[in-house]
C-alpha cells in the first residue's frame, strides 16, 4: 500500500460512502473516527517505514504514479499529516454540537484529501490545479440551500479560481530557470505572475472582501473550516515555491514584500474588526489578520524561526477557530441573525457559548494564558528587534481584535436587569466548547509540549528546513 492511497484516495472514497449514511450522527461518528485513525496511522506508521505486530509486518510506500507523474508523501510529511487529519477529526466532532454533518464532513474530507494531494504531487506546481478543485468542491459546503448565492460566495469562487492560472503560468515559465542560467527578464515576469496568483490565493489586502461577506451569508462552521484549511495549505504551497527557487529564496525583495503585505492585512483587518457589529464578520477579519500574521512570521530574516512560529500558530488557530465557530453556530440557531442588536444579553442564557466566543476572540488577539500568546509574543519581540514601527503597527492590529472581543462581551452581557442565568446549551455543546477552551489554555501554559511534535515540520522543505 502506498501513502497517497491511504491519505488521499481513502478519504475520498470514505467521504463518498458517508453520503449514503441515513443519520447525521453516524456521519459525525464515522467521520471523526476515520480522520482520527488516519492521524494515528501517520503517527504510528509514517510513509517509508515498517512496523511489526506479532508476525505481521506493515510497510507504506511513499510514492504512487499517476499518468506518468508521481504523487509522493514522504516521512518528512508525517507531522503535517498528523496535524491535518487531527484537525479534520476535531472539526468533524464539532458537528456533534451544531449539526450539519452531512454538509460539512464528506465535502471536508475530500477537500482535505485534495489539499494533501496538492502537497504530494510532482511537479509541485500542479498543486494549483488541485487547490482549485478543492475550491470548487467547497462551494456546495458554503452555499446555503434554498437561498440565492451571495456576493461573498461568488467573489470567493472568482478570486480563488483566478489564483490557479497565474500560479500555474508562473510555474511553467520558471520550469527551466532552476536548471539553466537565470534569465532576469523572465524571472521578473514570472515573479509578477506568482505575486498576483498568491495575492488572490492568500486574499491579501484588498482582495479579502469576500471573507466578511461569506461569513455573513454562509454557515459559520463551514466558513471557519474553509478559513482554516485554505490559508494553511496555501502557505505551505507558497513555501514550496520559496524553497524550490533559489532566486526567490535569496531575493532581497521577498522579505520586505511579505512583511508589508502581512502587516497591511493584519492592521486593516484588526482595525476593521474593532468597528464591526456582526460576530461572523469579526471572525472573518480575525481570520484575515491570522493570514497576515503568518506572512509576518515568514518575513523574519531568520527563516528557521519564522517557520517555527508559522507552524506553532497552527494548533491554537485550529482550536480557536473551531470553538469560535461552534459558539457562533449555536447563537445563529437562537437569534434571527448574528448582528449585535440580535445578540444582546444572550450570555445570560448561553453562558458557555458566550465564554467560548469571547475567549476565542481574545485568544486570537494574543491574550496571555491562551495558546497563541507565547508564539505571538515571540513574533512581536522579533519584529521589534527588526523595526519598531512595524512592532507598533502589530500592536495596533492586536488592539483592534481586543476591542472587538470587549465589544462582543459587552453586547452579550447587556441583558435587562433581573434576567435569570441559565445554560440552555446541550451537553455536547458545553463539552465541546469546554474541551476546546481547556485545550487553548493548556497549550498557552505549556507551549513546550507542542514543541517536540511541531519542531520537525519545517523539515518538509529541502532548503528552508535546514
Amino acid at each position: 500500500m502506498s501513502a497517497p492511497l491511504i491519505w488521499i484516495a481513502a478519504p475520498i472514497i470514505f467521504a463518498i460512502l458517508l453520503l449514503f449514511l441515513p443519520r447525521e450522527r453516524w456521519i459525525t461518528a464515522l467521520g471523526t473516527v476515520f480522520s482520527a485513525f488516519l492521524a494515528w496511522l501517520a503517527f504510528w506508521l509514517p510513509p517509508d517505514s515498517t512496523q511489526r505486530v506479532a508476525s505481521l509486518s506493515f510497510h507504506i510506500d511513499s510514492t504512487f504514479s499517476l499518468l506518468g507523474r508521481q504523487i509522493s508523501l514522504t516521512a518528512s510529511d508525517q507531522v503535517l499529516l498528523i496535524l491535518v487529519f487531527g484537525i479534520a477529526a476535531f472539526w468533524s466532532l464539532g458537528t456533534l454540537a451544531i449539526g450539519g454533518a452531512r454538509r460539512i464532513i464528506p465535502v471536508g474530507l475530500v477537500v482535505i484529501a485534495l489539499l494533501v494531494a496538492s502537497l504530494a504531487v510532482e511537479p509541485f506546481l500542479y498543486a494549483g490545479l488541485l487547490i482549485e478543485m478543492a475550491v470548487l468542491l467547497s462551494v456546495p459546503m458554503l452555499a446555503e440551500p434554498g437561498q440565492k448565492p451571495g456576493r461573498g460566495l461568488i467573489r470567493f469562487l472568482i478570486y480563488q479560481t483566478l489564483a490557479m492560472p497565474f500560479i500555474l503560468f508562473a510555474g511553467f515559465l520558471l520550469s527551466g530557470v532552476d536548471a539553466g542560467p537565470a534569465d532576469l527578464a523572465l524571472i521578473g515576469q514570472a515573479a509578477l505572475m506568482l505575486g498576483l496568483g498568491f495575492a488572490f490565493l492568500f486574499s491579501v489586502f484588498p482582495l479579502y472582501t469576500w471573507v466578511p461577506l461569506l461569513a455573513e451569508e454562509s454557515m459559520p462552521y463551514a466558513v471557519g473550516f474553509i478559513m482554516l484549511v485554505f490559508p494553511t495549505f496555501s502557505l505551505v504551497f507558497g513555501l514550496s515555491f520559496i524553497d524550490r527557487y533559489s532566486w526567490l529564496r535569496d531575493s532581497t525583495d521577498l522579505l520586505p514584500v511579505l512583511r508589508w503585505v502581512g502587516l497591511l492585512m493584519m492592521v486593516s483587518a484588526g482595525l476593521w474588526a474593532a468597528f464591526q457589529h456582526h460576530v461572523g464578520r469579526i471572525f472573518a477579519y480575525a481570520a484575515v489578520a491570522e493570514t497576515g500574521l503568518s506572512l509576518l512570521a515568514l518575513s523574519l530574516p531568520n527563516q528557521q524561526v519564522g517557520l517555527q512560529i508559522l507552524f506553532f500558530l497552527l494548533v491554537p488557530r485550529a482550536l480557536a477557530y473551531g470553538v469560535w465557530m461552534v459558539a457562533v453556530s449555536i447563537l445563529k440557531t437562537q437569534a434571527p441573525d448574528l448582528k449585535f442588536s440580535s445578540l444582546r444579553g444572550m450570555a445570560r442564557q448561553f453562558p458557555v457559548t458566550a465564554a467560548g466566543l469571547v475567549l476565542c476572540n481574545l485568544a486570537l488577539a494574543g491574550a496571555p494564558l491562551f495558546a497563541s500568546f507565547p508564539v505571538r509574543q515571540a513574533l512581536w519581540e522579533k519584529l521589534a528587534a527588526e523595526s519598531l514601527p512595524v512592532a507598533l503597527w502589530f500592536g495596533l492590529a492586536s488592539l483592534g481584535l481586543w476591542v472587538s472581543s470587549m465589544r462582543t462581551l459587552a453586547v452579550l452581557t447587556m441583558a435587562p436587569a433581573h434576567t435569570p442565568w441559565a445554560s440552555k446549551e446541550t451537553w455536547e455543546q458545553r463539552l465541546l466548547i469546554g474541551i476546546g477552551l481547556i485545550g487553548l489554555v493548556v497549550f498557552g501554559l505549556f507551549p513546550q509540549w507542542a514543541q517536540a511534535f511541531l519542531a520537525n515540520l519545517p523539515s518538509m522543505f529541502e532548503h528552508l528546513g535546514k
Binding site: 500542479y126 488541485l130 456546495p140 469562487l157 472568482i158 500555474l168
Partner: protein
C-alpha cells in the same frame, strides 16, 4: 496549421468573448461559449496533439451542455443584471478599448513565448482580458461562470505553448467540468424557492 486559420480563430475568439459580454440571453451565451471553445481548440491544436487538444474542447462543450441542461429545467427566467453598468454601448466601448490595448501589448510578449505565433498570443490575451472585464461587471452566477471560462480558456491557450503534459490537460479538463457543475449548482440555487 496555416496562420490564416489561426487568425480567423483568434478573431472568432474576440467576437465570441465580446458577444458573451453583451448577450443577456442564456441560449446565445452558451452557443457563443461553445463556439469560443472551438476557436480556442484550433489555437491549442497548433501546439498540442489532437488527443490532448480534444480533451480541452470536449470538457468545454460538456460544461456548456451542463449549464444549458440546468437552464432548461429552471422554472423562472433569470433576473437581469441589477448592478452598474448595464448599457450595451458601454460594454462595446469597454471591450473595444481592451482589444485595442491587447493589440498594442501582444507584440511585446515575444521574449516569453519565442515560439508562439502572433494570432495565438493575441487570441489568448483577448480571452484573458475580456474574461477579466466580464468578471468585473457582474455577480450573476451564469455570467461569472462564463467570465471564468473565458479567462481560463485564455490561460489554457498559453499553457499549450509551454507545457504539453497529459496530467495537466486532464486536470484542466476536470477543473473546467467542475466549474460547469458548480455553475449549474449556483444556477439551481439562484432559482430555488426559499423554504417556508
Amino acid at each position: 496549421m496555416p496562420e490564416l486559420i489561426l487568425w480567423i480563430a483568434a478573431l472568432l475568439l474576440a467576437s465570441t468573448s465580446a458577444g458573451l459580454l453583451l448577450s443577456r440571453d442564456w441560449r446565445w451565451s452558451l452557443g457563443l461559449l461553445a463556439v469560443q471553445y472551438f476557436a480556442a481548440f484550433l489555437l491549442i491544436f497548433s501546439y498540442w496533439p489532437i488527443t490532448l487538444s480534444t480533451t480541452f474542447l470536449v470538457a468545454g462543450w460538456m460544461a456548456a451542455a451542463a449549464l444549458g441542461m440546468t437552464h432548461l429545467n429552471l422554472k423562472n427566467e433569470p433576473a437581469t443584471e441589477t448592478s452598474w453598468p448595464q448599457g450595451r454601448l458601454f460594454r462595446i466601448f469597454a471591450a473595444s478599448l481592451v482589444v485595442l490595448a491587447v493589440s498594442a501589448v501582444s507584440t511585446n510578449l515575444e521574449d516569453i513565448f519565442p515560439n508562439a505565433s502572433a494570432p495565438v498570443v493575441w487570441g489568448a490575451l483577448v480571452l484573458i482580458s475580456l474574461g477579466f472585464l466580464h468578471l468585473g461587471m457582474t455577480l450573476q452566477p451564469l455570467q461569472v461562470i462564463l467570465g471564468l471560462f473565458t479567462t481560463l480558456s485564455g490561460f489554457e491557450v498559453f499553457f499549450s505553448i509551454i507545457e504539453n503534459s497529459i496530467l495537466v490537460a486532464g486536470l484542466l479538463a476536470v477543473v473546467t467540468l467542475g466549474l460547469g457543475l458548480v455553475g449549474s449548482y449556483l444556477l439551481i440555487l439562484e432559482h430555488a424557492e426559499k423554504p417556508v
